[in-house]
Amino acid sequence: MNLIVLPVILPLLFAVIMLFAWKYISLQRILNLVGSLILLIVSVLLFTTVLSDGVQSLHLGNWKAPFGIVFAADILSSVMVLISSIIAFTTALYSFSTIDNERESFGYYPLLNTLIMGINGAFLTGDVFNLYVWFEVMLISSFVLLVLGGTRNQLEGGIKYFTLNLISSAFFLAAVGLLYGLTGTLNMADLSEKIKLAGDNGLITVISIFFLISFGIKSAVFPLYFWLPSSYHTPPSPVSAIFAGLLTKVGVYSLIRMFTLVFTVNSEFLTNIILIVAVFTMVTGVFGAASQNEIRKILSFHIISQIGYMIMGLGLYSVLGIAGAVFYLIHHIIVKTNLFFIGGLIQKLQGTYELKKLGGLYKVYPIIGLLFLIPALSLAGIPPLSGFWAKFLIVKAGLELQEILVVVISLFVSLLTLFSMTKIWNEVFWKPAPKDNPEISFKHFTLSKKIMIFSPIVFLAILTVIIGFSVEEVFQIANQSANELLNPINYINKVLGRF
């Protein structure tokens, strides 16, 4: 079954080809689009295979587990790969009319591909050190993408992003070392069994804290998220969109993976920490959003706030809670990326992200208003859009476990989310345009550019609505995934090559 490495190998292959076509930007554009389309098809195939045949695994180089590196795809992994491929594909489309020629000629497209390669690698690997390597691939690609162009804001945000993420990597590396020192293995399934067998003299829990912190930094939870609001609003719009959609979610994915598969011994202590972190993440994140006046800054803080919801699902540690977290991941990536896309579109039309200088868009282009409302209301959890169901599952899981206070706080956060979405709506769409603003028009856009910028937005908006109405199907997937995660015996057997 070779399908499972393709999400890593394909982007690499295309990145290499693009390097050979360094000077031919239009060729790179096409390659990027074709590559991400093939990737999307592969991910769909992988996903359907996992759904019908169960966990897939590949022992690379045919080395037996736990000696070689194993790639494994359960539902969570394959869903994440699928969504990341969707985002890669829509970003490829969106880049056509939003990224400048200079950045294109300095490796923008190869970097996008190595970024996706790292992300998919992280989703698929079953080996902790290998996970570290994919994190680094993702990280260096994101560093370069973030500062590509080298404006002052990019550099300032980049420095913080860089430093704080490297600290995360340092903890990760040390934690992997310590874990090997204690267990003698790196394979996650093997780790799971060894740790369960040997029990914990406390050191496993200590090491799990390093993982919690390291992944916590990557997934931008309180009080580790500083790098995100400093940097996400500085690069060009397609870059912040793909970052906003995917990067933190790799952290969340890793948290879910490690804390359901490996670190389950002292889980009550850990889940309590996670729940407390979740509450503070939600609240401080949404507070941040409520106090900003720039579209991308508002949206960036919302990422944090919503990571809080996902982490809350993990912290509840019930089937429904984890299913909620998985549902939330799926929903959030799509909606968040789309909001950044629309933010970029607004900036293209009116030249700024500052709410003060914007206005009057609804009167001129009501259709953009509609395209904004779909993801914005979904983000705010308005039914029947996708975000409502994500919120519903997590709130229900919380109430079932009698975490009344946590639930009440999460609902209050949801109200503030609604507030800051209406703030953007009020200022950008409803408010009359400021007097000295130039006329809003698409005159800079050729028809093909117009199509290229709208098609990903429309596509993701439709997806948001579809998820909202096909809750049954998506919930089944999330629920199955949660069951798999909490009873990982199939995953373990498959990874360790037992049948």
Binding site: A15, L60, G61, P66, F67, G68, I69, E102, F106, G107, P110, L111, M117, G118, T125, V133, V137, I140, V144, G149, T151, I159, K160, T163, L164, A174, L178, G181, L182, G184, T185, L186, N201, G202, L203, I209, L224, F226, S230, I273, T284, F287, A290, S291, G351, P383, P384, F392, K396, L399, I404, V408, L411, S414, L418, N426, W430, V471, E472, F475
Partner: protein, 764 residues
């Protein structure tokens, strides 16, 4: 069923297409939609009136138990018919009211979404689908209140309404889920069959609070009533429809709907009684100093909403009867009066009551409609309002303990309602004609025909109340209380106490109307005190939350990287230390084998170099220190059986040092930024962290470890990997994927270095 419930949504999608033909065509054709929905529901009338209920179910999310279950009994039918009937009138009216306005199609889109959502609320038997429709009414209301969105006050009011009802919606969600956890079903009809389980639940208190938060905010009960008068920013057809006849009654509907499950609880009844009565009186008094036609009507709506809540709280058979009649009567006459206010505004250009007078000659038809609706509202025989008010009084009088007090309050409140009615329904038409911003004419047909129809219905329902209402109330499954009612509805009950009280109310109200100037002096000083107004607290909480958010964010996201790192380090190591302390019991520590003198010397050099790198006053010295560290580590690799590592470390360290020197060669002097106290603080934090790492390494390296991996690699390296150097075999074979990633990192870093050096753009 599903089709007619969702017809509004379908319409919303079709509107932009129909608009392509012409706005005028759209506005003439579209009233067919609500009318067809009306006839659809009206067709159930005889079935329902004969005591049947209609249940239809469509599967949606079976695994969560959430399906489109529709359930129609007397209560649902009454609501559904009101919604579609007033809807028809409003659709027709708006076509003329917004004639020539480019936003006409948007209006129809929003209002169609609203209508379907509202129908959904009153026909859903599943708590979750009800909730979904409920939230959609809030969203469509937001869009409609903000219809004139270029006005700041419209945006403000829209947001206020959304936040208040949104807060309630979220509470409602929690309440519904708790109700589900308690009863194990989302089906309202099932839940209503188990009042004992509901009231006996340990969550009961929370459920009641959450649900009532939802219904009170939606139905603008005190202290959440303030959003409703502000919502008058919406175009008048919207006010008539959403903020009087239908949406604000969604909360009332839900309380009535859930009453069979909750009605036996004292908590539930008392809360409804207290807040209902408070709203009824408070809103009535606040109305007094209003001069805006629509605001006056809004306050009287509030008062009626309070009365309806109070009636559910009383919960007797008579009260339920009063509830239904009053509900119908109010929707008919209040909708009418709003539309009349819209006509006046549309024709004269003002809604200020002080500027309006003597319009009877210019707008005779409007006047007739206004007077008919007003009489119904005042409770004058033979209109349906009369029947309503009589029954309300009767049910209050019947109340055993508080009856006497409550009747006084009710009369007081109704006195103001009579006053408001006189102000809106009579005052603009009588007296001397005043000049207005526009020259008034009689309203066009589409604007007066609907209100006229509603006013006539009030008359017909009043006179023939024993015919239509009697059957509906007494023989249908009402669903508000579990038993069937058996109280005949008729227009004339003879000369009794209620009639007397009713007459007194009207007289008092008229007295207030004629002596308005005199009383205004008192009220003005009373209600201008901001502390008595809940909207003051809304603003306080709103501003307070925002300032708190700003403050916290400015403290957390302050821009200082060193602060960020400090927080991360403190979080990490305090957690680590805590976990070690809690879970790890100290055993004997194995400090490993002996070391030779030259190793100690090397270690010493490493520490000195590290300290040099830390404390150097020049960059070059720091780099020398850094290089020292790297080379010593390379030597240690060599000593401890890792020659490949040593080689790599040595060459890479050399490269790093060269790079460093190249980059910083030309930079000016090293600056020292931090104060001594800050240094000391950082030294303490760093030492704490360093010590923790020291301890962890010591403990873990001292445990016993058998690694299958090591044995396997050594055994298989040559046979399978064809290599004698096992480390190399691991890198290129066993773990080749790591190496692939590693090379990618290098390549990407190279692109990064190149682009950073070559591409320099400016921020725009």
């Amino acid at each position: 069923m599903l089709f007619f419930v969702l017809l509004g949504f379908i319409t919303a999608v079709l509107v932009p297409l129909i608009k392509k033909i012409s706005d005028n065509f759209l506005s003439w054709i579209i009233p067919i939609i609500p009318a067809s929905i009306f006839f659809y529901f009206a067709s159930f009338y005889y079935q329902i009136a004969d005591g049947e209920v209609i249940k239809v179910s469509y599967s949606w999310i079976p695994s969560l138990g959430i399906n489109f279950d529709f359930y129609i009994d007397g209560l649902s039918l009454v609501f559904a018919m009101i919604i579609s009937l007033v809807g028809t009138v409003v659709y027709l009216y708006a076509g003329s009211y917004l004639k020539g306005d480019t936003r006409l199609s948007k209006f129809y889109i929003y209002i169609s979404i609203f209508m379907s959502s509202m129908i959904g609320v009153v026909t859903s038997d599943n708590l979750m689908t009800l909730f979904i429709f409920w939230e959609l009414t809030s969203i469509s209301s937001y869009l409609l209140i903000g219809f004139n969105h270029e006005k700041e006050s419209s945006r403000y009011s829209a947001l206020q309404a959304l936040l208040v009802t949104g807060l309630g919606g979220l509470a409602l969600l929690a309440g519904f889920i708790l109700l589900y956890i308690t009863t194990g079903t989302w089906d309202i009809s099932e839940i209503n069959k188990m009042p004992a389980e509901v009231i006996g639940s340990s969550y009961f208190f929370l459920i009641v609070i959450f649900i009532l938060l939802g219904t009170f905010t939606k139905s603008a009960q005190f202290p959440f009533h303030f959003w409703l008068p502000n919502a008058m920013e919406a175009p008048t057809p919207v006010s008539a429809y959403l903020h009087s006849a239908t949406m604000v009654k969604a909360g009332i509907y839900l309380m009535a709907r859930l009453n069979p499950a909750f009605g036996n609880s004292i908590l539930w009844n008392d809360l409804l009684l207290v807040f209902g009565t408070a709203t009824m009186l408070f809103a009535a008094v606040l109305s007094f100093k209003q001069t805006d036609l629509k605001k006056l009507l809004a306050y009287s709506t509030l008062s009626v909403l309070g009365t309806l809540t109070m009636l559910i709280g009383i919960g007797s058979d008579l009260a339920i009867k009063a509830f239904i009649i009053y509900l119908i009567a109010h929707s008919l006459y209040k909708g009418t009066l709003f539309l009349v206010a819209g006509i006046i505004d549309h024709e004269t250009g003002t809604r200020n009551i002080e500027k309006l007078s003597g319009l009877r000659k210019l707008m005779p038809i409007t006047m007739i409609i206004a007077v008919a609706a007003s009489l119904s509202k005042m409770g004058i025989i033979p209109l349906v309002g009369f029947v309503g008010k009589e029954t309300v009084y009767a049910s209050v009088l019947e109340l055993p303990i508080f009856g006497n007090y409550l009747i006084v309050i009710t009369i007081l409140a109704n006195m103001f309602v009579v006053y408001i009615t006189a102000m809106v329904g009579f005052r603009p038409f009588f007296g001397k004609l005043k000049s207005t911003p526009k020259n008034p004419h009689e309203a066009p047909f589409r604007m007066w025909s609907g209100p006229m129809f509603l006013a006539l219905s009030g008359l017909v329902l009043g006179i023939f109340s024993s015919l239509f209402l009697n059957k509906l109330i007494n023989s249908s499954e009402l669903g508000i209380i579990s038993e069937r009612l058996n109280i005949p509805v008729k227009l004339w009950h003879g000369f009794n106490l209620e009639l007397l009280l009713s007459t007194i109310t009207v007289l008092l109200g008229l007295f207030l109307y004629f002596k308005r100037e005199y009383f205004l002096k008192f009220v003005a000083s009373f209600s201008s005190v901001k502390f008595v107004q809940p909207s003051y607290y809304y603003q306080f909480i709103f501003d307070g939350t925002l300032s708190l958010a700003k403050y916290i964010t400015s403290k957390i996201q302050n821009g200082y990287l060193r602060f960020y790192i400090l927080v991360i380090l403190l979080t990490t190591f305090s957690l680590i230390a805590y976990t070690l302390h809690t879970f790890y019991s100290f055993n004997e520590i194995n400090i490993g084998g002996s070391v030779s003198v030259y190793e100690v010397i090397l270690a010493f050099i490493l520490i000195i170099s590290t300290l040099l790198a830390v404390s150097a006053k020049s960059r070059l010295a720091a780099i020398v220190g850094l290089g020292g560290v790297g080379y010593v580590i390379a030597l240690f690799f060599l000593i401890y059986s890792a020659p490949d590592l040593a080689m790599t470390q040595f060459s890479i360290e050399t490269l790093t040092v060269i790079l460093f020197v190249l980059v910083i060669y030309k930079l000016p002097k090293y600056l020292s930024f931090s104060s001594t106290t800050r240094r000391i603080r950082d030294i303490i934090v760093a030492s704490f962290a360093g010590l923790t790492m020291f301890f962890l390494v010591l403990v873990i390296s001292g445990t016993s470890l058998t690694s299958e991996l090591k044995e396997y690699f050594i055994a298989e390296s040559y046979p399978s990997g064809k290599g004698l150097n096992v480390v190399n075999v691991i890198l290129v074979d066993f773990r080749a994927l790591d190496t692939l990633g590693e090379i990618t990192v290098l390549a990407v870093a190279a692109i990064g270095v190149y682009s950073l050096l070559k591409l320099r753009k400016k921020d725009n």
